[in-house]
């Protein structure tokens, strides 16, 4: 209730500025000329500051807080997806005897899973913070579950990669490395020491080779079985927040992510491996691209239904997702029609990998954008509430009378 005698000088309600008040002093709307009596926000501090009637929010402030994640998390999601898909390709190649494809995809899997972990550590700030997460297992936390999936996957990938590396340098497989592994006997008196050292290394390598040959198959199976959870859990990681775009897309996001992982990893093998062995990679790339396109379509439709499609269509996130879509179509068609052409294969592979990266970054950014504007939080929630009330269901509202 007002108490000031100066209140009668206040402009009537209709003329009160209709603008986002956060803009501060600049950009005052049309209204009566400013003078010492009716200036708003000036010395009197008595002017009514009525929020816009169409949409109630608290000075346009966000209701929820956006996750404090930057591009490192986008990179983490992308690299994790590539690692997962590469692991599947590696196991498939090992089973079907495609040597180059197996070697390349195993090395890709290890590299990307290591980089993915590095991106996570960089986001956390200190390496021991990653270890901190391994002190507990929490099934209600997708991040805890994911850390264990990532660690277990990296362990299996480590074994298969070691097996691949030993194969590359092992003396029992001289064909693996082009140059002779033994240096020429050119030294003088150190010759003896040197030869003994080399012999010891050879023994070690042989032992490692024997061990790894035995571990190779189970590790390959383990890698293949952990790959799908690694590719899909990141979708749960995002959806299990109150970020409107991620939470509302909880039924579509896992399919987007596995499709994206398949096309990115297959795409990278199209780049790295000669076409003679990339038949399966091409098929996986096409399947992945198709899945990604369909899932992204459903993702967009679902969000549009909830008036949440603005963040994924506008701004930087929108541009990234649009570019990703174009590249996915181009890369998918390219890998479908590449035939034996290495150039087309490399181009489509790069397009698919880029598309996947852009998809991850775009979805992360769109989610963060959607958390910043209260309309994306309040709008869907009010609608949800309204629909329940219209259905006669009122017992589960957070607002009660008496």
């Amino acid at each position: 209730m007002t108490t000031s005698p100066f209140d009668s000088y206040r402009p009537p309600d209709g003329s009160v500025r209709k603008r986002r008040r956060r803009r501060g002093g600049s950009g005052r709307g049309p209204g009566p000329a400013r003078n010492w009596l009716n200036r708003d926000g000036g010395g009197t501090r008595e002017a009514p500051a009525v929020p816009d009637a169409e949409f109630s929010s608290y000075y346009g402030r966000s209701v929820i807080k956006p996750v404090p994640w930057d591009e490192k998390i986008g990179a983490y999601l992308f690299l994790g997806g590539v690692a997962a898909g590469s692991g599947l390709i590696a196991t498939g190649a090992a089973v079907t005897g495609r040597e180059t494809l197996r070697r390349n995809s195993r090395l890709t899997a290890m590299t990307t899973v290591a980089l993915s972990g590095a991106a996570l550590v960089a986001d956390l700030g200190r390496p021991e913070r990653f270890l901190n997460m391994l002190r507990t297992v929490k099934l209600t936390s997708p991040m805890s579950v994911g850390t264990w999936i990532l660690s277990a996957y990296a362990t299996f990938a480590g074994v298969t990669t070691a097996s691949e590396l030993v194969r590359l340098v092992s003396p029992s497989r001289p064909d693996a490395s082009g140059s002779p592994s033994r240096p020429d006997a050119s030294g003088g008196e150190i010759l003896g020491h040197r030869a003994r050292g080399v012999a010891m290394t050879d023994d070690l390598l042989r032992a490692a080779d024997r061990l790894l040959t035995r571990l190779d198959a189970p590790a390959s199976v383990g890698q293949a079985l952990l790959a799908p959870p690694l590719a899909a859990y990141t979708a749960v990681l995002l959806s299990d927040t109150v970020t409107p775009v991620w939470f509302e897309a909880r039924r579509q996001l896992p399919f987007v992510f596995v499709g994206s992982a398949a096309m990115a990893s297959a795409g990278l093998q199209l780049v790295l491996t000669p076409t003679a062995q990339t038949g399966p990679a091409r098929r996986l790339a096409v399947l992945g691209a198709a899945t990604d396109l369909i899932a992204m379509r459903q993702f967009e439709e679902h969000l549009a239904e909830w008036d949440l499609d603005e963040p994924i269509h506008t701004g930087e996130a929108g541009a990234k997702l649009a570019a990703a879509q174009v590249l996915t179509v181009a890369g998918g068609l390219g890998s479908l029609l590449a035939g034996r052409s290495r150039v087309v294969a490399v181009a489509s592979g790069l397009a698919l990998a880029t598309a996947s990266a852009l998809t991850r970054f775009g979805i992360v950014e769109a989610g963060i954008e959607s958390a910043k504007d209260p309309k994306y939080t309040v709008g869907p929630q009010k609608r949800r509430l309204q629909e329940r009330r219209e259905a006669g269901k009122v017992h589960d509202s957070t607002v009660t009378v008496r």
Binding site: T2, D7, P48, P51, R250, G279, P280, Q381
Partner: protein
């Protein structure tokens, strides 16, 4: 319901669910915004007791008297200031009436009450069981209980009293009250609405029954205390920021370097670590009440066993309805809501979003089984696709 189901949604006692044996009564706040005067003593007391550094700069926000903005890593109590004109007050009042007409639940009533879910006709009056009979017994209610406004600021107390007696003497309440309608209990209103009002509300961590932040924390840095509250251990937190995205109320936050130190040595503690209200866990352990509640000069912030708080809230909202404040409603007192009821219960005088509160918060982990199922399906699809890629034809 099984033990596992109870972990993610529905009614439950959080402390015993978390494994506390013989836990004390669940503690909570009741924040009655109708008596808040916006003095910000709670903000200051919280800062002082918990040694929180300053947030941001010393700039004025221009958002009424609110220069704090929102809850965050270094603001565990935040007083919101909402300025409303007559139109907004009318809308708030109408929305409060609509809630009653909808048959919204009263706190503590069994969820399966058939009368609550039956056809919510707008004409339906509240059932006699849920509405305590007004002590005024048919006497008109109104804003006459407020202090008389000054000249040009609204009707004088004399006018109000004249109107009131006119209604009491049998005049048509609608014409006497200027068509102001009735209270939720059907008592005719007298006295026009004020031209302007300030809503002041002290916000705080809700200490949800199903706390999203607690569920998603990958390190166990967040834990459920024996008092049923949610507390962060800053020496265990690894700063992943997941809890920030999981809080449906936007309470918890990771402290950043931009926090300005209040210490002489320029040191800001716990940078990069999630922080939020602990409901003064350290004070509770010594039978003290939280600093904000102890300092509140108007008893707007009350602290005690949650059941007592809900009871007090219920009484107060009934009282306000009797006086004609149909806009009064409770927030967070319903154990069947998306977070299983909050430890901090609020009495609001408008819709939650007006105060920057979510209108229908949901703990994201309540949908976790569904999410894991979908992800599992997608993962199987990926495995199948890889198998098809390798089996389908030799090239």
């Amino acid at each position: 319901m099984g033990y596992l189901t109870r972990q993610l949604s529905g009614r439950t006692d959080p402390a015993s669910d978390a494994g506390w044996q013989e836990a004390p009564e669940r503690k909570g706040f009741f924040t009655d915004t109708s008596v808040c005067i916006g003095c910000k003593a709670c903000e200051v007391a919280c800062k002082e007791w918990n040694a929180l550094p300053m947030d941001g700069s010393l700039d004025l926000s221009g958002d009424s008297y609110d220069n704090t903005g929102d809850l965050g890593a270094s603001t565990w109590r935040h007083v919101a200031f909402v300025e409303q004109s007559k139109g907004r007050i009318e809308a708030a009042r109408a929305s409060g009436r609509a809630l009653v007409d909808l048959g919204m639940p009263t706190v503590g009533s069994p969820s399966a009450s058939p009368s609550a879910t039956a056809s919510p006709s707008p004409a339906a009056s509240p059932s006699p069981a849920t509405s305590p009979s007004p002590s005024s017994g048919g006497v008109p209610a109104g804003y006459g209980t407020l202090p008389a406004p000054q000249e040009h600021g609204g009707p004088s107390l004399g006018d109000l009293l004249t109107e009131k007696s006119a209604v009491e003497n049998g005049a048509d309440p609608l014409s006497a009250g200027g068509g102001l309608g009735t209270t939720v209990d059907g008592v005719p209103m007298v006295g026009p609405l004020p031209e302007f009002r300030w809503l002041m509300a002290s916000d705080v961590c809700k200490h949800c029954t199903h706390a999203g932040c607690l569920d998603v924390c990958p390190t166990g840095a967040l834990f459920r205390s024996e008092h049923g509250t949610v507390v962060v251990q800053d020496d265990v937190c690894n700063g992943c920021g997941y809890c920030v995205g999981a809080c449906p109320f936007g309470v918890i936050e990771r402290r950043t370097d931009s926090a300005v130190s209040v210490r002489g040595d320029g040191h800001v503690p716990n940078v990069g670590v999630a922080q939020k209200c602990t409901l003064c866990y350290d004070r509770l352990s010594h039978d003290q009440e939280p600093a904000c509640a102890q300092t509140c000069p108007t008893t707007s912030i009350r602290f005690g066993p949650r059941e007592d708080m809900v009871e007090a809230a219920r009484e107060r909202v009934g009282q306000l309805h009797e006086q004609g404040f149909t806009e009064a409603r409770l927030y967070g007192a319903n154990d069947d809501d998306g977070v299983g009821g909050t430890g901090s219960v609020f009495l609001l005088l408008d819709e939650p979003e007006v105060y920057g509160l979510p209108p229908d918060p949901i703990c994201a982990t309540s949908k976790l089984p569904e999410m894991f199922r979908t992800a599992g399906l997608a993962g199987l699809g990926l495995l199948g696709a890889a198998a098809i890629a390798f089996v389908g034809g030799k090239k």
